[in-house]
């Protein structure tokens, strides 16, 4: 009797896993296909420079002396009108030389207005809550301290706000340290698929893009309308995306607003980063799913898309449970009484169908980006997959354990920086020279003869 129950239970688990994962696979195929199919993706590139609201750029900093100069100098070199620009480096209780660097820039550039924070709870959301009080812009843009925005990124990120329905905007992050370790190489593929394929496809299809908290921004009025940043959330960006969505605001995605980032180089750092994302995401799922289901502003497709997005980390334990159930059925002789061949064919077919789905997204992204060499790393993504599955399961176990016992979860964890910094010279790439002549007039006519691209 017990054996029969175990067999039925195992088959049920496998069935659930196959249904859920097939649904996600269909979604992956659909997004990848739609990304390739649409000739003119939804974008505002042609209107860059014509939308010039007053903006405030926040740069949360906690012990960032190695990279602070780079990001501040990059913002100084941006082609946004200084009269309409305010930069607030949020020095969050730094104990290194961050404060001195920030103050030095503030002395030289009047639009840099540092906010020094000496006490209060830690983490980016808490720091942003306080710093926002001092902001005067109509649009708030955010960059992490280790990011170096290109000269046109501010204009690109503000262009979508010409649409009054756009509450937030998200640019694209591009890993710079692709060759530092196998993990960073594999993460570059993951990022590429996440932005070039998935974010752009979802935006093209009319779904809200996901605000990522950096290389992005939010309309000040919309932020106030949803009650500001959520300092309790570990992923204040995801939290904000869905708070905005429930109030009728959309998040735009600007694929061309690219910014380099440093991805984790070792699995320990990656595991902690993933753990924070998993916890924050799943928390948002629990907080928002009832409202999403009832939301008057959303179509049925948008509701499904939002739920799929928030529940994506739950697929990891479902996969593991499916594996365990398969092992049970393999080792229990009584389970072999069923017609093995058709079932085996079904499972093999499912594996072929589902496993290729995410690879297709990566393939589409590398094709569009023209990074074919990196695409060859794809088979090694299996390593990333297994590591991610373990880290996600562990994070979810901790999350539900803490939730069940009512104990506090993990706090904010600052991702370890590996970049040495270059004293305001960017990454040593083709960044415009320091003090480059800013564009004149409306920034639309050629004003200097420095490197320009198209």
């Amino acid at each position: 009797m017990a054996i029969t129950a175990l067999i039925i239970f195992s088959w049920t688990l496998i069935g659930i896993a196959m249904v859920v994962l097939s649904a996600y696979a269909v979604r992956h195929y659909y997004l990848a296909y739609s990304r390739m199919r649409i000739a003119h993706p939804r974008e505002t590139n042609e209107l860059v420079g014509f939308v010039m609201p007053r903006i405030t750029v926040f740069i949360p900093m906690h012990n960032e002396e190695r990279v602070a100069r780079d990001v501040l100098q990059a913002l100084v070199d941006c082609d946004y009108d200084w009269e309409l620009l305010e930069v607030i480096p949020v020095n969050d209780r730094s104990t290194d030389g961050t404060r001195a660097i920030v103050d030095d820039f503030a002395r030289r550039y009047p639009f840099i207005k540092p906010y020094h924070r000496a006490e209060g709870s830690g983490g980016k959301p808490a720091a942003l809550v306080e710093a926002t009080v001092n902001a005067s812009g109509d649009i708030y843009l955010m960059f992490d301290a280790d990011y170096v925005p290109g000269r046109a990124v501010l204009k690109m990120l503000t262009a979508p706000f010409l649409d009054p329905e756009i509450g937030a905007v998200m640019g694209r992050v591009v890993p710079h340290n692709i060759g530092d370790s196998l993990l960073s190489g594999l993460l570059s593929l993951e990022r590429s698929a996440g932005y070039q394929s998935v974010q752009q496809a979802r935006y093209n299809l009319g779904f809200t893009a996901q605000f990522g908290g950096t290389v992005g921004g939010v309309r000040a009025a919309a932020l106030r309308a949803v009650g500001g940043w959520n300092p309790e959330s570990l992923t204040e960006d995801t939290d904000l995306t869905f708070a905005l969505l429930l109030n009728g605001w959309r998040t735009a995605y600007v694929n061309r607003a690219e910014c380099y980032e440093e991805v984790p180089q070792d699995w320990g750092v990656r595991r902690r980063q993933l753990s924070r994302w998993v916890t924050g995401h799943t928390e948002c799922l629990h907080n928002y799913w009832p409202d999403l289901v009832r939301a008057r502003f959303l179509t049925r497709g948008e509701k499904w898309d939002a739920i799929f997005l928030l529940a994506m980390y739950l697929t990891a334990p479902i996969i593991v449970l499916g594996w365990l159930a398969s092992l049970v059925l393999f080792f229990v002789p009584e389970a072999h009484a069923v017609p093995v061949l058709p079932i085996a064919m079904l499972i093999i077919g499912y594996q072929l169908f589902s496993n290729q789905a995410t690879f297709l997204e990566i393939g589409v992204a590398t094709l569009l980006d023209g990074t074919r060499l990196r695409a060859l790393l794809m088979p090694l993504s299996l390593l990333n997959f297994f590591a991610n599955t373990g880290a996600i399961c562990n994070a979810l176990r901790k999350f539900y354990w803490n939730r069940f016992w009512g104990s506090g979860g993990d706090g904010w964890y600052k991702t370890h920086r590996t970049r040495p910094g270059s004293d305001g010279q960017g990454f040593g790439l083709n960044q415009a020279p320091t003090g480059a002549a800013r564009q004149s007039l409306n920034g639309l006519y050629h004003a200097n003869n420095e490197g320009v691209g198209d």
Partner: protein, 378 residues
């Protein structure tokens, strides 16, 4: 022994799955991505400026060829030749395969074919039916009828684009662009863009004072549907922005005072005033002689009826049509109208800024009916 052979074969087969990845990783290891151009800034006249800069650099560094004369200097740049002449006049029907630089004026007859770029430091006149690769002019430029520009055209002076002329990419001028019927381009950018039949006399102001609908409505306004507006369908998104559920077809002049998202079609009657941004999930139609101060965005088609005056940005995901007498102008920044579908410009349009389309911008003659007195405002 057999087990060992099997094991080795199995491991070799297993490695084969990853061999390409392994080789790729060996190539990538230690490298940093450099695919982003950090110095990129968007410039509307980038093509013309970039070409001028490269040409200037080549001419200042390359020696003139030995077969140069006083009237024609020849430079060799790789496989291509650059001809430099003080002034250039081509008869009709000539085919030119070299890169040309005219230090003075340039003109050509009809049906010529220039296979490479042309740079003109003076004024320039292009005959009917001529085809060019790309053209940069420091003076005024006149393109005759049915000219074909395979890539871009840029002029520092006034650019006149003749009827039925086709420009595959961008047309830019630092002074003004005149865009005649049947001509098309992907985008036009100039301090002033006009179409045929320009008439700067102001349209007569309306003397009729009818009811004006305000959105958001005042507390003392009727709470039942009136003039195509149902207050029950309007709700706040917060932050001073409103959403309207369903189609909003206002049949009386509208005064839009706050940003609005119409979750359906939107249309307003003549002489409306839209002071704030407007988004519609379907089509937008703006009544004649209205004033649009906020941006207009829609997921469908957009139509601005005659004599509309806009001071903002227009962006439909579908097609856009700017009717007879539309004006686009604002202080400090140029205006812009960009459509994902075709953008049609009727007669007597003046826009200070940019018109562009992912498909094409085309000028047409306004049907005669529109030109009858007062019919446009009917």
């Amino acid at each position: 022994m057999l087990f060992l052979v099997y094991s080795v074969c199995f491991l070799a087969l297993f490695y084969l799955h990853f061999s390409l990845a392994h080789r790729a990783w060996i190539t990538i290891r230690g490298k940093r991505s450099s695919e982003l151009d950090m110095s990129y800034v968007r410039l509307e006249d980038y093509f013309g400026q970039s070409f001028r800069r490269k040409l200037k650099q080549w001419l200042s560094t390359l020696p003139a060829a030995s077969n140069s004369t006083a009237n024609l200097r020849v430079y060799h740049h790789g496989q291509e030749r650059i001809f430099v002449a003080p002034t250039v006049q081509y008869p009709s029907g000539r085919v030119e395969k070299e890169l040309l630089v005219a230090e003075g004026a340039f003109s050509c007859g009809n049906n010529c074919d220039f296979r490479r770029e042309v740079m003109v430091h003076g004024d320039c006149s292009i005959g009917e039916g001529t085809a060019l690769q790309a053209l940069a002019v420091d003076g005024a430029l006149s393109l005759g009828e049915a000219v074909t520009i395979r890539r871009w055209v840029d002029a520092a002076g006034k650019l006149s684009i003749g009827a039925d002329t086709a420009i595959s990419s961008r047309a830019t001028s630092r002074t003004a662009i005149e865009f005649l019927p049947g001509a098309y381009a992907q985008s036009l950018f100039a301090p002033e863009i006009s179409t045929e039949g320009r008439n700067d006399d102001s349209p007569p102001l309306s003397t009729t004072i009818g009811p004006v609908l305000q959105i958001p409505h005042r507390p003392d306004d009727p709470q039942t549907a009136h003039h195509g507006f149902d207050p029950q369908k309007l709700f706040s998104m917060g932050g001073g922005t409103y959403a309207y559920e369903g189609d909003l077809d206002v049949t009386t002049p509208l005064h839009l005072r706050a940003p609005l998202v119409a979750r359906g079609h939107f249309s307003c009657a003549k002489e409306s005033l839209l002071e704030a941004d407007l988004k519609a999930h379907r089509n937008i139609t703006i009544g004649p002689a209205s004033v649009v101060k906020g941006n207009l965005v829609c997921d469908g088609d957009m139509l601005l009826k005659p004599d509309v005056y806009f001071q903002s940005i227009l962006q439909p995901e579908g097609t856009m049509r700017l009717s007879f007498g539309v004006r686009g102008l604002r202080e400090k920044l140029p205006v812009a109208a960009h459509a994902t579908g075709a953008l049609t410009l009727e007669s007597n349009i003046v826009i200070n800024g940019k018109v562009s389309s992912a498909h094409r911008v085309i000028a047409i003659s306004t049907p005669l009916a529109w030109l009858q007195p007062n019919s446009a405002r009917a």
